[in-house]
Point group: C2
């Protein structure tokens, strides 16, 4: 059934007819439809994702429906999110083609994106982290993705005119932003029908979050920054479930929450989810596999990601200091003394923003609506609660005392201090 606006929800069968009617997709499959395999694999929260494989090609089709998949039609959500996802995927692909799947086709009326199939052994990073798999290039790749996508869409590279035009465009993605505002920055700090936690173990902890005035003071500042500050094009949902990996490849998907916002929101999402993965490890360890080495790798990856990011970001700045960016005109910030001063200040603020947003993203995954498989997959609830509580306590400290941290190494040391017997 086609609705007035040209939209119809596809299923595994009607999808094939859609592909057959779309020449660019036919050719991606080598025009072979006899042995076509179609499989819906959407394990995400919002959308439907189909893998389509023919003997001589493959692709992925993602379709947004006008509600949130994991909740159902009772929580409507604009399907126009697919438009912003396609826009951001293309922009990210242009800026960082090594780490973003190619977009083959976008159909706005159908809220449908066709893109490269990230073939096995690509898996969702979060699943790899739960399984205890090391990805030696992860920090290198993610720092690359974040440095490029954030630098080139900020006023360090944009003219202010270009920036305001793009800011205006992405303001249209307001429904998705509102979802973030609610589930990340509001619901965890108040009573909400959507909140949940490992009960009864964490009942008092959830209550403590709602009563913590200093925490609420800090999260208010972050929420305002998220809503007001158009610093760069952010992915908007850069957790470990939006990244697919192999030993050699790191691919960032699912930027449907893209908007011009604070850079620290993306960096924090990634780092915060790595910290969650760290605290979940004790729930995955078994006799003969205590995950000690693996936890070390996670901590090293946290440290390397930020340090590499800051180096790459600053290098891009130096490289383009005479470029189109208008925040720091080279005629004013020309000599290296002042350039180093402004860069240090910029990066320091970004570091503290990232820690703040990272902490907020951790908290919401423990006492808010959407939890993470890292913890959910720990069957023993008391064990799970133990892991979650330590993560929550760390996140609260990080949010409240983030300005006291000078380096990422100090953050890692603070994590170690919470787990003195486990990690050397």
């Amino acid at each position: 059934m086609v609705s007035v606006d040209g939209f119809r929800a596809l299923d595994e069968k009607s999808l094939v007819d859609y592909i057959k009617a779309t020449p660019s997709l036919c050719s991606k499959l080598g025009n072979q439809f006899e042995e076509l395999q179609v499989k819906e694999v959407g394990d995400g929260n919002l959308n439907f994702v189909y893998i389509v494989i023919s003997p001589s090609g493959s692709l992925v089709i993602k379709q947004a429906l006008p509600y949130i998949r994991c909740i159902g039609e009772s929580w409507p959500m604009t399907k126009e999110r697919a438009y912003f996802e396609a826009l951001a995927l293309k922009e990210h692909g242009r800026l960082c083609p090594d780490h973003v799947p190619e977009v083959y086709h976008f159909d706005r009326a159908m809220s449908l994106i066709a893109m490269r199939y990230l073939e096995p052994p690509h898996i969702i990073l979060r699943k790899g982290l739960i399984a205890g798999v090391e990805y030696p290039l992860l920090a290198e790749h993610m720092s690359d993705f974040m440095a490029k996508t954030l630098f080139f869409t900020s006023l360090l590279y944009h003219s202010t005119a270009e920036h305001r035009k793009l800011v205006a465009e992405y303001c249209g993605n307001l429904e998705l932003c509102r979802l973030t505002e609610q589930v990340v920055f509001s619901d965890p700090y108040k009573e909400s029908q959507y909140n949940r936690w490992t009960s009864p173990y964490l009942d008092r902890d959830a209550e403590a979050v709602r009563q913590d005035n200093i925490l609420k003071l800090e999260v208010a500042e972050l929420k305002s920054m998220f809503c007001e500050r158009a610093q760069a094009l952010i992915h908007g949902d850069l957790h470990t479930g939006s990244i697919m990996v192999t030993q050699n490849s790191t691919q960032v998907i699912d930027p449907e929450f893209a908007v011009y916002g604070p850079m620290g929101y993306d960096i924090g999402a990634f780092l915060g989810n790595l910290i969650l993965a760290f605290f979940a490890q004790d729930g995955h360890s078994s006799e003969g596999e205590n995950r000690k080495t693996y936890k070390e790798w996670i901590l090293r990856t946290i440290e390397d990601t930020w340090n590499l990011f800051q180096t790459k970001f600053t290098s891009l700045w130096n490289e383009h200091k005479d470029g189109p960016g208008e925040a720091y005109l080279s005629a004013i910030y020309k000599d290296s003394e002042i350039l180093v001063l402004v860069q240090k200040k910029y990066v320091k603020n970004l570091f503290h923003d990232s820690l703040g947003f990272g902490a907020a993203k951790m908290i919401r995954r423990i006492v808010g609506v959407a939890h993470v498989e890292d913890f959910e997959s720990i069957d023993d609830t008391s064990k799970r609660a133990y892991c979650e509580r330590r993560a929550l306590e760390f996140a609260k400290t990080l949010l409240k005392e983030r300005r006291g941290f000078q380096t990422i190494n100090e953050v890692v040391l603070a994590i170690r201090e919470l787990t003195p017997n486990e990690v050397a």
Copy 2:
């Protein structure tokens, strides 16, 4: 001559034909055209302003031409600025009708606004300040205007959806924003053909501004905040030349630079221009009129404006704490302890932003392209340079050390310390 887009520049003669062809304007003049008086009075930098008086009515017509009036056709500037001026005038008028002239008519193709004529004895506040006239209600009125226009267009009153829609709309005013970025935040800190200062007296002072790394570090932060942070609908040009006054009336005109930006930009513009007026007084004093009392009045007005603003702004917040604003949901920030905490933090940050922007607005009026009549009207150039230098020194200190000021009284004390023998 009408251009393809329906625009034609009017003069005193063709203006009358325009009015005659526009019924709503005819009726404002009581349909009487025999004894019509038309006079172009635009003393501003950008546009043409006509006062039109008939025996039974009056109005003002403002038209934007596609360049900057005081420079000429060599500096093109979109006439679409009139659209944003009309939009903001109407919004300001809705929020604060007592202090904004009514808009009678707007013609987008003609970039033409018709509004209430602010009849004599209304004069431009800057001229009153130069003449040494006290306006006992100024602080009361301006704190009212700023509290209302800023509060009601911020996330303290807007839903985030409404906010993003309006932010997107005003992003269109990017050319005017670019002018601000250039003349306020960039040119004064670099060599520019447009910069000027009272030479040779201030040659070294202008040079010192361009060499001051700490100053440049601070101004970079303000420029980024101006470009990135959509905190509220700001007037964008709220100096003492955009305010018309009598003893009982205060009217804010000329919001063609309106955009969603940091609130402190408006507050700083007003306070910074009052401080400029203060430092200019010694250039206007003559024997028998040392302006000592008047300087006291200016300092009191600076203090009262901020203190009244902060009281009114906080009152609006309390009054609307269960309203549509989404930055601080009442379910989270409900009890008075946390509400007081967040309000104090918000107002403190706003205070420091205001001081920073105020200082930047002062500096640019002394070493940038557009100067103020407060100083320009001091004929004795060495005397003028003396006044300007003290204002400049104070502004530099304010910009660099603004976070050290806790109250506006401390700022006023710092001004007094620079002029120990003059003001008690």
